[in-house]
């Protein structure tokens, strides 16, 4: 054997993936608390689909199935997708999205470590484009719900497509970001809209707590040195700065920076998706450029684009630029240009 003869104890790909999954738990708990148990069904279906499609693709590509299945990367993809789409939806929605993520976005691009686009976000984009109507039905926060959907009821909806006594519209609604956009187009001001019951102190009621939990999980990943500060900080700071500029110019038409930070997928995207190793730059400068790009695109798509949120598309667009960013941001090597 050649040197070195020792490795960092316990450093494994599967450990990294496991820690990221753990970091998602507070947000999942908050999600469960504010929006009901449907998210658990969604996560379970996503995990099962991810593992099944991963196993199938590994087998087809003649890779050792057990060895790679244990790395945990497939489950993480499933979870990130499940957390990005409405939890109360027909079963096939998450299945189709996850299957696309694993089969096309991951394995057809060469599998773990080789994919250009973030698989979860590619899955999200496919669902958003193919099934836009379902993708806008988000569960009403429990404190506002007339008919809280329990686990049994959610399960029934997942597999039969119907709820008992009510239709889907009664238990779901548009997201706070979506609502703001619609209301603004109806000539309401931000101030008026924010008085609607679905809004909390910064963002959406319940949703802002989930966002705070993503932030907490992200800080845990920073502390564990799983991620570096560059991407999340540049992403969130840029988003806040752009929001502050527009908000400063016209506060009646543009929401505050805090609102933008704590609604939609900003926190999830900043700490868990834009930091995906495989599809993000590896150089510190590259990460800053990447985060800044995602932050700007995120605001532009959110506020001026046709979709209620822009995390997935802004990350996918920046993913395409990663090889270029890395090539142009190589750090100075020791002993060069001294």
């Amino acid at each position: 054997m050649s040197s070195p003869h020792i490795l960092t104890a316990g450093s494994k790909v599967s450990t990294i993936m496991l820690l990221v999954l753990v970091a998602l738990l507070p947000a999942i708990a908050a999600y469960y608390f504010f929006f009901g148990p449907a998210i658990l069904i969604s996560l379970t279906l996503a995990s099962a689909t991810a593992l099944a499609t991963e196993a199938m693709m590994l087998k087809l590509r003649s890779y050792p199935v057990k060895f790679f299945l244990a790395d945990g990367s497939a489950i993480l993809t499933g979870w990130l997708l499940a957390l990005s789409i409405p939890p109360l939806a027909p079963w096939w929605l998450i299945v189709v999205g996850t299957a696309f993520a694993i089969i096309v976005a991951k394995h057809l691009y060469g599998g773990l470590g080789n994919n250009l686009f973030n698989p979860a976000m590619a899955g999200f984009a496919v669902l958003m484009i193919s099934f836009p109507a379902i993708m806008t039905h988000w569960p009403t926060p429990l404190m506002l719900a007339q008919h809280p959907v329990g686990l049994a009821e959610a399960l029934r909806y997942y597999f039969s497509g119907a709820l008992q006594g009510v239709n889907l519209d009664a238990v779901t609604m548009a997201t706070p970001l979506d609502t703001l956009k619609t209301q603004l187009s109806l000539q309401h001001t931000v101030g008026e809209v924010k008085h609607m019951p679905i809004y909390g102190s910064f963002g959406g009621k319940g949703g802002e707590v989930v966002a705070a939990m993503y932030l907490l999980g992200g800080l845990f990943l920073l502390q564990q040195r799983i991620i570096t500060w560059h991407t999340p900080v540049s992403f969130l700071v840029t988003l806040a700065l752009v929001a502050a500029v527009f908000n400063g110019i016209n506060p009646t038409h543009y929401a505050s920076p805090m609102f933008h930070l704590f609604t939609g997928g900003a926190m999830l995207g900043a700490f868990f998706i834009a930091t995906d190793y495989v599809t993000a730059p590896t150089t510190p400068k590259g990460k800053l450029i990447f985060g800044t790009g995602v932050g700007i695109l995120e605001y532009v798509i959110r506020v001026f684009g046709g979709y209620p949120d822009g995390v997935a598309f802004s990350i996918l667009i920046m993913n395409a630029a990663v090889p270029l960013i890395d090539a142009y941001t190589q750090p100075r090597v020791f002993g060069h240009n001294t």
Partner: protein, 532 residues
């Protein structure tokens, strides 16, 4: 307090120093036989200076320094030369090398030797003594020290750095040497400082060696007081590879040795503390390098440091530490980060061998199977050269060597930090070594092809020239023949001799022009094919 700089990256592997640094240095008993390799240093191997059957004395030169970058080797004990042949040596390649075998006579009788007064002697003389005493860098690379201690054309040496960092885990040979023989190390440093006349002398020791730091500080303090010297012991943070020459210089002076250059280029000379000790023995006692301190540790009964004669079979040295435990799987030479597998226990101790580690599956678990690179960038964060190992891996794996060079593959010092942190357990350094050797081979082939092309061009030129010469000769012949013919006609027949002569002259002129034209054409073609 000196403000220290930082180098990028680095790792904190478990140190395992306490196993071997608690006991004092133990002198090893005289071996029955020593095997002295002629290549114990960087550069040309020493030239054999004895014959089989010769009786040699302890300290007698048995191999002469051969060329500029070379060093002498000496008989570690008195005895008879029994063989000069290939023998296993501790080397990563596992290949045998030329060694001189000496059967010890047990008397251990010294050759006549004497000290040199380095203060009055000519510096070149002192350097020659060092070369002939076989002094080489004992930190691992074994670069001939006398070459290093020559400021040459570079002019002023600003800083002399003494490397007592010993950043590799498990190894403690420099640690115990500094604890026990600080005064002698400092004597050696004084000689080095005398040769170099640096503005300052910095002795860098990692702060996990408080005893060594204290011992060195105590000696330096009194030397500074007595002799108005300014030797400064600088504790440096324990961070692997802080003992790397370029890293230590950066930490102590804030300066980076430019890529592809030597410390001398920035007015710094760096030497190991153990080397300073041998410099002292050579100059102040006339003793060449015939022994060294070696750490025997790991899966042995009594880990300890031993002072052992060069040439002692490594298997015997392991026995000094009580032998290896039953579950020992293999042995490492050097530390676990940059050391290599010992393939043959008969291989002898060399000047560069600072540590022998008995490895067991418990101490050194086998590496798990490699996963694909997930571009986590931990390797880039750990790299002390600030390289991007994940990119270099990609280029090395795909044999995209131009790209690997463009990403500064050759600035890799093979410290192993990237491997150490890789969560995918990719043997990155092995990939980089592979790429480096492939590139070196390609460059050799390129040079050979270039030479072959030049040969071909010269051959073509020569053939062309010969053709022209032949044409010129033919033209002359024809002219002469025509002239003779004309003369004959004039004599024999009634042709006007004037006309005949004219004809011959015209014929000769035509031939000359033809020859000239051919020459010009040949010259033109030669010009275009001249090697660039």
């Amino acid at each position: 307090m000196r403000t220290l700089q930082k180098f990028h990256g680095g790792v904190h592997p478990p140190q395992h120093k306490a196993e071997s640094n608690c006991l004092p240095i133990l002198a090893a008993p005289l071996p029955k036989r020593v095997i002295v390799p002629l290549r114990q240093h960087l550069g040309t191997p020493a030239k054999v200076h004895v014959k089989i059957g010769d009786h040699v004395l302890k300290g007698q030169m048995i191999g002469i320094a051969n060329g500029y970058i070379s060093a002498a080797v000496h008989a570690p004990t008195s005895g008879t030369v029994s063989a000069i042949d290939l023998h296993a040596i501790p080397h990563p390649s596992g290949l045998p090398d030329l060694c001189i075998r000496i059967e010890a006579d047990g008397e251990d009788r010294w050759i006549e030797h004497q000290a040199v007064d380095y203060k009055t002697a000519d510096p070149d003389t002192v350097r020659a003594v060092l070369r002939d005493a076989g002094i080489v860098g004992l930190g691992g690379a074994a670069f001939p020290t006398y070459v290093k201690l020559n400021p040459g054309q570079q002019g002023k040496i600003r800083t002399l750095v003494l490397n007592g960092a010993e950043c590799e885990p498990w190894i403690t040979s420099d640690d115990v040497l500094m604890r026990e023989r600080a005064a002698e190390i400092v004597e050696g440093i004084k000689i080095m400082a005398h040769l170099m006349q640096p503005e300052k002398v910095l002795i860098g020791i990692e702060d996990n060696k408080p005893e060594a730091i204290a011992a060195m500080q105590a000696v330096c303090r009194s030397v500074n007081l007595e002799q108005a010297a300014n030797f400064e012991v600088v504790p440096v943070p324990t961070l692997y590879p802080g003992g790397g020459e370029k890293q230590l210089i950066k930490v102590l002076t804030g300066k980076e040795v430019p890529s592809g250059q030597r410390p001398l280029n920035i007015g710094v000379v760096c030497a190991n503390v153990a080397t300073a000790y041998t410099v002292h023995r050579a100059i102040n006692h006339g003793e060449p390098v015939i022994s060294r301190i070696v750490t025997v540790t790991g899966n042995v009964q009594r880990p300890q440091n031993f002072e052992v004669l060069i040439g002692t079979p490594l298997g015997e040295i392991i026995q000094l530490a009580g032998g290896a435990a039953a579950d020992t799987s293999h042995y490492l030479i050097g530390g676990p980060m940059m050391g290599f597998d010992l393939t043959n226990l008969d291989a002898p101790l060399t000047k560069a061998t600072n540590c022998i580690i008995a490895a067991s599956p418990a101490l050194f678990p086998p590496k798990p199977a490699a996963m694909p690179c997930i571009r986590c960038g931990q390797c880039a964060q750990a790299c002390p050269a600030d390289l991007q190992p994940q990119e270099l891996f990609w280029f090395s794996q795909s044999k995209n060597f131009d790209k690997a060079c463009a990403y500064n593959l050759f600035d890799c010092i093979e410290c192993g930090c990237c491997d150490y942190v890789c969560p995918s357990h990719i043997p990155l350094v092995s990939y980089f070594r592979f790429a480096k050797s492939e590139i070196a081979m390609q460059n050799c082939e390129k040079a050979a092809a270039e030479q072959a092309r030049e040969h071909f061009e010269f051959k073509k030129q020569r053939e062309e020239r010969e053709k022209q010469e032949k044409a010129a000769r033919m033209a002359e012949k024809a002219a002469a023949a025509a002239a003779a013919k004309a003369a004959a006609t004039a004599n024999g027949e009634a042709e006007d001799p004037a006309i005949a002569a004219k004809k011959a002259a015209i014929q000769a002129a035509v031939e000359r022009t033809k020859a000239k034209k051919a020459e010009a054409a040949a010259a033109a073609s030669t010009n275009t094919t001249e090697p660039s």
